[in-house]
Symmetry: C2
Subunit: 700 residues, 2 copies
């Protein structure tokens, strides 16, 4: 356990300026410093402080308020900042190998500042770098050093114009020519152009390109990845045969240059095949340690979990930023009141509490889940490095794949909806760009799409669960998994017979009750999904069609419910564990219960329909408990935000600043815009060039 706040607070935290938030801070039931220390530990807090102050003290990172950057300028600035990140040495080889939690912290810190910057760095170093490291072999290690020196700049080129989710159908080809010992990389047509590739638009010199590998004689060995130079590092001009360009403006993350590339018979050395899962001899014979294409394909895409798990944590960061802004706003914005004379903070309204506090609870619950899942992933990767071929290691891989595939949808959607709610809860002020909720929403949006569309990904999780059930039926295999997320299903028949026995809201105020309800719900949806799939099969559908027709209301709901249960359970166990300092127990318990119950309340119809709940009182008691928890948490809301909000410079939202001087901050930010008070340059268009109204009307 880290030292208490009292011991070392000077170095770790600056005190907040006094101001309109004092009243709520004074009413908090706990010390925000104690909670932050308990959740993060002193070392990570210090590391984060170091990064944040490096950014704040470097003019290159000065917030370009109202600078109204063009795409070109924003991308330049973002690249310059990326270089500076390397100069600061935030990412280190040692951390990448030995302390991945620190690496994740750097990504989050950069993302809190600007996701364009974080993704630019991550795509180059982590995605491009680990593709080479994990899919290549010793002969490719030379590239790793060049990545760290920025001698080359990299990107990861899988998606094509006409294929994203269906990666197997990728159409770029790599034909091996034994005469020159080269691969010929080729795009058959523009629909097979690589597309959406981050860093490819303007900066990347090298790409890991996925292509169908053909050996002489025309045999296709499936998708492999190749190191392809696309630009000359000396000039940034395209290499011969490569047509590479920028996709232009996106909804968000516009500091990042997403691009496309078409290859016209581009020759690369045989050695630039990333050959971990398959290689070609100089003579043109294909060799692989895997028995069949499917197995090899699975192994080559197996590293996708880590991308998805990163996205879980990125989504959580966005949710934290948004609720921090909206709750500080709500604690200082006053509107209406019991009398005409006195207006009350909008946070005092039950409706505002109900709109925002569940998302605050979700930020805490999902943050905990995200950290634990990351640790699980580390365990998996240790096994991979140790070439662990045990059944447990394989099972762990499957389980983490299932958790990552539903965790990303749950986290990214929760963030998406939470940011939208925060935007609306801040009214017009939330719509002003400088308050950042728009950027958060836009930058979070791709989390719902990349590394697998959310709806498509959920099928991975439901298939995992249905596969376990099928095995149980076929040969009595127990429900058991290394992380124990499915073990409760062993009691599946008896859980389905359970009913809620409580009668009032007090029966729901601890997360134990919603947890039990969730277990029932997952069992119910598992049974329903299994029956639905088999019924489709019996009525003549093939596997593909039966699976397609079992998604809505069945497998999709199953995957989400299972994921919510897992998040709820991990946060429940954490908040109820013996390690929690007693002063923090009440507030953490309430967060746990609120997230659990609020999530569960989306499924009340199923709980009634399947008989877990009965009678009017049951549903009412859930609603009342949600409202009771909101009321209990509202005085803690500002302190809970203080725990998760970055410094003002990083949060970068006048209405969300820690001093709570809502209007002063907003007013001064607007006046600081260079041209706020200027007459428009085009004023003669109004004053001199008067229109002749209706002049063109005859043409109507």
């Amino acid at each position: 356990m880290a030292p208490t706040a009292e011991g070392s607070s000077d170095a770790l935290w600056a005190d907040f300026p006094r101001g309109p938030l004092d009243a709520y801070r004074a009413r908090a039931s706990f010390s925000w410093k104690d909670l932050q220390l308990f959740l993060e530990g002193e070392e990570l807090i210090r590391f984060r402080n170091t990064i944040f102050s490096a950014l704040e003290n470097d003019p290159l990172f000065a917030r370009s308020r109202g600078a109204d950057l063009s795409l070109e300028k924003y991308r330049k600035l973002n690249f310059l900042r990326c270089k500076r990140v390397f100069e600061h040495g935030f990412f280190s080889m040692e951390d990448l190998a030995g302390n991945p939690l620190r690496v994740l912290t750097v990504i989050h810190c950069l993302g809190m500042y600007d996701w364009s910057l974080a993704t630019k760095c991550v795509l180059h170093m982590m995605v491009f770098g680990s593709a080479i490291y994990n899919s290549g072999s010793e002969r490719h290690l030379k590239y790793i050093e060049k990545i760290f020196n920025l001698e080359i700049f990299g990107c990861f080129a899988l998606t094509e114009v006409s294929h994203g989710s269906n990666t197997k159908a990728i159409r770029t080809t790599a034909h091996y020519d034994p005469a020159t010992q080269e691969f010929i990389i080729h795009s058959p047509d523009f629909e097979a152009a690589k597309f959406w590739v981050g860093n490819m638009g303007k900066t990347a010199t090298h790409a890991v390109v996925f292509a169908q590998l053909y050996t002489p004689g025309g045999q296709c060995h499936g998708l492999h990845s190749f190191m392809v130079q696309i630009r000359d590092p000396k000039t940034l001009l395209p290499m011969p045969g490569v047509m590479v360009g920028d996709m232009g403006r996106k909804v968000g993350q516009n500091g990042l240059d997403n691009g496309f590339a078409m290859f016209h018979k581009v020759r690369i050395p045989r050695q630039d095949l990333l050959n971990r899962t398959g290689d070609v001899t100089p003579e043109g014979t294909y060799i692989t340690p895997f028995k069949d294409v499917r197995q090899r394909f699975g192994a080559s895409l197996g590293s996708l979990s880590s991308g998805r798990i990163s996205i879980v944590s990125m989504s959580v960061v966005n949710l934290k930023l948004a609720v921090a802004i909206a709750l500080r706003f709500s604690a200082t914005r006053r509107q209406f009141g019991p009398t005409d004379e006195e207006e009350i903070p909008v946070l005092e309204y039950q409706l505002q509490q109900w709109r925002l506090l569940p998302y605050l609870a979700a930020a805490y619950a999902l943050d905990h889940f995200s950290k634990t899942l990351f640790l699980d992933l580390m365990e998996l990767q240790r096994g991979l490095l140790a070439r662990d071929r045990s059944a447990r290691q394989a099972e762990l891989g499957r389980e983490i794949h299932a958790l990552a595939s539903a965790g990303k949808p749950l986290a990214s959607w929760t963030a998406q909806q939470g940011i939208q709610e925060c935007r609306e809860a801040c009214g017009g002020h939330g719509y002003l760009a400088i308050n950042r909720l728009g950027d958060l929403r836009d930058d979070n949006d791709p989390n719902c799409t990349y590394e697998g569309d959310n709806n498509v990904l959920l099928q991975q999780t439901s298939s995992y669960l249905l596969g376990l059930l099928e095995q149980r039926h076929q040969d009595g295999t127990r429900f058991e998994s290394p992380l124990r997320t499915v073990d409760f299903l062993e009691a599946y028949p008896s859980i389905l017979g359970q009913k809620f026995r409580g009668s009032c809201s007090a029966d729901w105020l601890d997360s134990t009750a919603p947890l039990a309800a969730y277990k029932w719900l997952v069992c119910y949806l598992l049974r329903e999904s299994y029956q639905k799939f088999n019924q489709e099969k019996r009525s003549g559908s093939g596997d593909f069609e039966a699976r397609s027709n079992s998604q809505v209301y069945h497998c999709r709901s199953l995957a989400l419910a299972f994921m919510e249960l897992t998040v709820v359970r991990r946060f429940h166990e954490f908040t109820h564990g013996p390690g929690v300092p007693p002063p923090l127990r009440p507030v953490l318990g309430r967060l746990s219960a609120l997230y659990a119950l609020w999530s569960l309340s989306q499924h009340l119809a199923l709980l009634y329909r399947g008989g877990y709940l009965a009678g009017e009182q049951a549903g009412k008691s859930v609603e009342q408990a949600v409202l009771d928890l909101c009321a209990q948490l509202k005085d803690d809301a500002v302190a809970l935000v203080d725990v998760i909000a970055p410094p003002d410079f990083v949060l970068d939202s006048p209405i969300g600043r820690a001093d709570g001087e809502l209007y002063k901050n907003l007013w001064s930010a607007i006046l600081q815009e260079g041209k706020a008070l200027q007459r428009p340059s085009w004023w003669p268009e109004f004053s001199v060039n008067k229109p002749e109204v209706g002049r063109l009307k005859s043409k109507l």
Copy 2:
């Protein structure tokens, strides 16, 4: 009835180019031209065609693909386009007086092109103009002509930095000085600065300013509106004492210049008080035709319904554009399939149908509602002009206020969620800015906020319903309203005794069944809300607190359910009416049933809890019916989109073009961006100025 498509199709419609959408078009169960003619009528279709081709043929409206406009340039362009709209004479005095449906059509056409343009025109002409027309008197008519000539440019200044929803608390003052017969307009401090005022940022010369009127002696007579000149039309420089400026970038609608203004003892002539509801004599005596401040206040803000009803229709336009893009994409994007060889359009997946088709149905149902509500408003306004003082006229005003106050939230939220779903359903391509889903979402977002925050507005509707119930209890007044939206409540006790008697999905396939369920639901929520409010009162809460604590799960749900019922009922009656041509009946009936059932399915928990539904089968049958309707509608989806989509030039989305050439359009749009293939201007920052990695690390 308009002529059939066969008669006059040449002039009304160009045929769609042949292409990948042909297959779906051929499978449609109806003629899209017949449906468009039935819904819109020949005259409006022709009028719209005229507007659209005027835009398409005018270089000023050329789409600025990738032009990467700065705020300054976009606002200039938007103003130039606004002038051109006046030159085209799209808005005419005659239409404003006699044919408001044409005016609405112009707004929609401009909005489909770009909401920044539509709102700029509307704020100047309709909002500023009608504020003067409705709140002023003969002496202010001189301004109306200047509005139409663009001699002056106007804005409507109500909201302040610290007050929006609570309009009564507005703090700008207007003190009357009999010595000079002037009002002195003053902002006590920056928190009382006018804020968010559209057109005020750069262009407006005049503002309708809301301020507390004080007569000599210091008596305050409440909020009144004043005509205040804020800039010199000859120079666009601010008038003395006026500090006026631009709020900068917003999340969307950035062609529109939202602004702020502080008034430092600005003197305006006595005559510039808009004196319909109250006036001051030259000597300084306040006179009003109203008995008390509250009544006068109500009258002065009574015109808000028309703003909200416009927003309903604007939201519907956005929803139509989004579903048009997403459905054409879904019909041409292929991904996966039953075999590795054959990929199928993603629209063939039940999941994709379920994500999108309900929003298509919602676009149709809400469009119909929006039109009928607009006609109701016209009736109300005819009565106002005729100075109808009947009880029916007053009741009509209250009913329309209730419908507008919940209609705006329902429509704007449905559009918000629908656009988001469409964005995600188009995957990465939906995230590319040129495909426009991001802009639609950003431009639609303020519909949730302005003219009253959605959550706050819903209270108006629930209060209306609870007021009727209270009257019923107190003196037996019948539930009756001019538009008959509440008449069914007369059977309130017996409706509450009803239960769903069906057993299978077929029982839900017509909108009659969900309609009956909705009636029960509204009665249930009305009773629950009434009891909740009274229980709060009994336990000691004041009115303010009791109302606040009855919103979540009660009044808020009541208002939304009542609104959904009204939309469902009006669309049900329309689609089942005798006027529907027989070939169109099946498809319209399915749209009606799908919207009704899908909306209702959000409330299944309440239907179970209150006993309207019982047993597992009931809930399953609702789900199955939704999926059945989706399956029945998917082959009609493209034709249904053809009915509501504007021409390609206006829809402006490569993935949503009518020819269905998804990839060709996308590819060519990206390559048309001027700099797509260019090396970045800052290439030496990579190639020459190499970073010294870790150089700054010592500071860590």
